[in-house]
Symmetry: C2
Subunit: 152 residues, 2 copies
Amino acid sequence: MECISCQTPKQDELICETAYWRVILAPNQSYLGRCFVTLKRHCGDLAELKQEEWLDFAEIIKRLESALKKSFKATMFNWTCLMNNAYQVDPPNPHVHWHFRPRYNHKVEFAGAIFEDPEFGHHYDRARTQEVSDRVKKKIIEKIKENFKREI
Amino acid sequence: MECISCQTPKQDELICETAYWRVILAPNQSYLGRCFVTLKRHCGDLAELKQEEWLDFAEIIKRLESALKKSFKATMFNWTCLMNNAYQVDPPNPHVHWHFRPRYNHKVEFAGAIFEDPEFGHHYDRARTQEVSDRVKKKIIEKIKENFKREI
């Protein structure tokens, strides 16, 4: 079975690429700046990550959280590694990736769009979605990239 | 504000303690073997974790996932670091901890209790709870501990 996480990402969705990980903006911006952090090699279990992959991931957390604070004053962050969907097919073909959701105790207006976090202080709501136009998506990525780079 | 994660855990809930982390069985066993993996020092953000804490955590993932496979044939695992509740008070006082949910593509009978995962292949359901008796809890902990130790 083909692994979509192994495909080269569209360059216009890419926020950054390190030695072992790719950071990509999620289409659903229900939490402004929501990203996927995907391992560049095909590996289906966190238990199989190498030390250098963990340490590189730790650096991404630092830089990405800092970039989101600078870009949109994000309050705190939710990190999850689930991979449930990969088990809907037999045989499953999981690929390690993290869901990164910045959380906000305030409303954010950016590039003419409004982003809210009505569940702040509580578990994220998967049912709430917010698609953004290509123009807004591009501006979100530019903003995060700008602040992500400064952290190097 | 007092931090409950900084308190010494009840010894009968403890699965293991490493240099930097504690693994504790969660009261809600809706996913058999559900645990909290809590940093031993008070620190509120993953971005502030030290390299040695990350590498110790990586070892826990390996040993805990392996122990759950051996104990109950767990199929795969969900890892989340959220800390949302800490932001319901002002000032917030978060303490880094992970939620570990083993997921199962099959029913498990253990110590006279039945555990199912009707959401397998999908996001975990926080509304579904399963309390267990002290006797069953003790047996779950013993079983995981036994297989966790073998992984050292």
